[in-house]
Subunit: 217 residues, 2 copies
Amino acid sequence: MSEIKTVRIMEKISGANDVIAAENQERLQQADVGMLNLMSSPGAGKTTLLERTFEQLAGKSIRAAVIEGDVETSHDAERLQRFGIPLVQINAPTCYLSAPMISRALDQLDLAQLDLIFIENIGNLICPAGAKTGEDAKVMLLSATEGHEKPLKYPRMFVECQALIINKIDLIPYTNFDLQQAEANARKINPALKIFRVSSTTGEGIEDWVEYLTTVL
Amino acid sequence: MSEIKTVRIMEKISGANDVIAAENQERLQQADVGMLNLMSSPGAGKTTLLERTFEQLAGKSIRAAVIEGDVETSHDAERLQRFGIPLVQINAPTCYLSAPMISRALDQLDLAQLDLIFIENIGNLICPAGAKTGEDAKVMLLSATEGHEKPLKYPRMFVECQALIINKIDLIPYTNFDLQQAEANARKINPALKIFRVSSTTGEGIEDWVEYLTTVL
């Protein structure tokens, strides 16, 4: 009984959520602002990727902001303060950022002064997958230390995303992670998935990722 | 509005959940079976830890079973088949295993033939934290690659657990993970937390962990 009950609740939230997500998207389109929804397990490296990204964007004319989602703390937002970008922190006792939460965060931003918004979603491979926020694209980070079978175990996340960043590739030599197998597993779930191989530590692959950002603007 | 709505839903599930959790606990106590609820982010190494654990238990007289929780696939359960132990797979479209799901899994086990049950919960640091299953202890795995600030970002998980396994310590030299800081952060949230430093790859710390298992029987 309880399993079925939980599913119904998820669907109810999604139904109401999608209406607000469409409103967010309309509002962003009118302001000509792109929005990317970054999702991953806890500790896969979303904030560090954003740090490397903003280092690269410094020389470019893209004006970007970040909406940070966390259950507790604003540590991640604080790490991005040095870039002088608009930052909105959402602390929510939930496992994903909903469209209404993003709507409130958008209220805090001057959209006329922006080209791109990154949502750093709450670290979770399940709840955020089905919850639209009004984003132009969903991007998932998979840390190489999490294992190459993850696309098969969390298929919805891989189905919903337009891009996959395989992060921490510098650690692959010290693990049994099979990069080819990971990509094959991901493409089996979602053949159209754009895949980036990245190390935020060494900087490998960051340029390709930043180049991709210009396509969602 | 939506943030508040989500919180209410979580509480409603927990209220009904706790009644069934108490029933599960009663049933296990009558059968003199211990139960451990293993939780972590996706890819933190729960299944590999269980593999190392069952290698150590082979020489001991503890009769153990595993209840495997996954959104999709039974890969993890298949990895444990070689140990000839009772295995129950739960595939649930949710972000945690509820007490009613565990109740159904217990129906599939011959409790008279068991001393200990491991629940390998769905990979998630948020949803499973507050959902009792009837376990004797909650145990959390934190992979060193996830970062030492995780206890501050996901405090409820660390509050609820009796034991913390810091896993993949063999990868620490290749990351900026600060082991002392991680332990200090965890103890700030939960001073009574029993902490194990483990590498399922090198085997370091496994014996201490297996020794601990005898305390929950």
